[in-house]
Symmetry: C2
Subunit: 397 residues, 2 copies
């Protein structure tokens, strides 16, 4: 019989998807150039030419049986080695291939990490504002997601709220830095304090608490931001990565789980991921993509457009009197709305063909997200529209 | 804390993998050409040249943002349409795009199908001999796999045993035709009788019973075999397909779920698969692979080598006095061992560098599987070795 849990989920609607669909439909009416669509977090710059060249070379020169053949369930060994080497070189870690599990993007990586270190009924904490998909990702794994309220002053961790919500059933803490939707990177001070807190709680409860770090925006960090490599600060940590944003390959589904070599059972967690895969029908990233990405690991797309866009928008928003924390990375900014009801605010913006996402689904009411992974030229054109919207709709400010 | 379920699974060993690793190690000693490795079911013929050409064309000519961009969670719309069209043309079905969910290979497809039509605690029946991964695939979904004993006369369905094991908790029946490991295709008569049986039981129990058909070998069918398209015979059916074998692209992870347009809730099952994906971290097949495969849907690799190899082996095995049912497809054959203990039989064969897989893990004791997806030349050289093995080890036969 049809599964009722999944059937019921069909009634839920994604506000982001609805807004994106609206923007597309509106674009069909008035020209998409005239819709200032800040809804979707899709990379707006192409992958590095080297990626394309490497893939073409593989297809032209290599044995099809080798490049299209089965990957071992943990990933192709020399790809895992290359990932470990790159992380060690860049972040001073000491990963070996055995600590790396190749996953189909960050969603795949997180699905494995959750199941590795929690059992059904255990709690996983995350911090508002947070990526709304964490709800189904965690809850359908059998664990329970609990959200620590935001520190709206600077969107670092709200330690007082963390202390209050923390309990013995928490087996993992999930962070996302640089953060979707706030754009904030957790500072060295934040990570150190979080690590100290978790060390203390591990002792108090007498069990491991894993720090799962979701890092798809790790390579999109802006000038002056303090955005340290999380796993350097806490032994029981798992880094979940995706090349979707750094190499602009979101559709090719490639990322990894990197198990901290100093964590409990460090040598078996990646192998356990292989077992978890059997249960959830996960498959390795495509073999050809593993091979191609492994040759451009230290490259990124030209990500500079995101910082250009952020600076334009940040200055404009501040100039218009918005309360907004300056992003340290990603391609998101998360200002406070001009009225308490962020939905009402975003509905008004829609009349100006400004597509903004209200913050309620991110676990913080009263804010909105702009995904500025769009052309700089369009960002510039949107600023006078934003100005008109604010002046007309909120004349008394 | 580390999840004990998955940790315990690390103790389980795959006999197929062990034998394959032994064959590789032995090959390093004496030359792999001298090891008659019948262990692994990996395609041995390259993908069609057209696939490579199409992919090269996409990489050379198309916008990287389009070919590497996010796929919608159910798959790229025009790819889903192309799959539906191809199935309709080939099998006289009436699928629409909305019935197709693109999945990362058959493992991904099955993970979604199980969760669509069962809830935790429900039973799924399958028939021995069966692909051993069905155990973890089903059991880790929360459903319970129960195995109907084999009909060893011809490896069609053992209906008497099915009748005995059938009960109200069975929400789905899982078949695999042509079958790994037996190589047998279920005949029209078998499918019709199975459909009648399930229709009757649906009425008796007052609930749907879905037929989930795992069809990665659908395109590898030998002359004279009766191998009908399963979903034509039963409305509540879901076809799970992979291009791994037909296009020799096992590492590229592409397949689909095709929901029978006449089944209960036909219009929502594919959408439910999208919800299931969120919970299990599944991702669509890679966008570029979806696009390339959609242009070569009706092609296959040159699969004729498998039939050539089957005929050589079948004749040799019959000549040596083995009891063996002639395969109707796949690249497997499943003869009866020459002693009751198939493990002992296969251990003896190993001394002759014949790598055969004992049948116990497939749910039938006393048989062995040969995966003849290897060069025909090697199959020919293996026959005198097989002969010597039988004569020396079983002289009294």
């Amino acid at each position: 019989m049809i599964n009722e849990t999944y059937k019921k989920m069909l009634q839920g609607k994604s506000i982001i998807r609805e807004l994106s669909e609206y923007a597309t439909a509106r674009g069909a009416e008035i020209g998409y150039d005239n819709v200032f669509d800040y809804s979707l977090g899709n990379p707006s710059v192409p992958c590095p030419q080297d990626y394309t060249d490497v893939m073409m070379g593989l297809l032209r020169e290599e044995d099809p049986m080798a490049i299209h053949g089965y990957s071992p369930s943990l990933g192709i060994e020399r790809v895992r080695e290359a990932v470990a080497d790159s992380l060690n070189r860049r972040f001073g870690m000491d990963y070996e291939a055995k600590h790396i599990f190749m996953a189909s993007g960050a969603a795949g990586a997180l699905a494995h990490a959750f199941r590795c270190v929690t059992s059904p009924g255990d709690e996983i904490l995350t911090f508002a504002p947070y990526f709304p998909e964490y709800g189904p990702y965690v809850n359908l794994s059998g664990a329970v997601l609990r959200v620590v309220p935001a520190n709206t002053e600077n969107f670092q961790v709200n330690f007082q709220a963390l202390e209050e919500i923390m309990n013995e059933k928490v087996m993992a803490v999930l962070i996302n830095t640089p953060n979707n939707p706030s754009g904030i990177a957790y500072s060295t001070a934040t990570i150190e304090r979080l690590a100290d807190f978790l060390e203390r709680k591990q002792k108090e409860y007498g069990h491991d608490i894993f720090l799962i770090s979701d890092e798809p925006y790790r390579e999109i960090v802006f000038e002056g931001a303090d955005a340290p490599y999380v796993s350097k600060f806490y032994d029981n940590s798992i880094s979940c990565y995706s090349y979707s944003k750094s190499l602009s390959l979101p559709g090719e589904r490639i990322g990894y789980v990197a198990v901290n070599p100093r964590c409990t059972d460090a040598d078996i967690l990646a192998v356990m991921c292989g077992q978890i895969s059997r249960g959830i029908g996960h498959n390795c990233p495509p073999s050809s993509v593993q091979l191609a990405v492994s040759r451009v690991l230290d490259q990124t797309s030209d990500l500079s457009v995101y910082e250009t866009n952020m600076n334009l928008l940040y200055d404009a928003l501040v100039g218009l009197g918005f309360q907004v924390v300056k992003p340290g990375g990603t391609f998101y900014i998360f200002p406070k709305a001009l009225e308490e009801d962020a939905n009402a605010f975003c509905m008004k913006a829609k009349k100006y063909d400004l597509i903004l996402v209200p913050s309620d689904n991110f676990g913080v009411p009263g804010y909105f997200r702009m995904a500025y992974c769009i052309d700089t030229e369009k960002v510039k054109r949107s600023i006078p529209v934003l100005e008109r919207f604010v002046k007309e709709e909120y004349p008394d400010r």
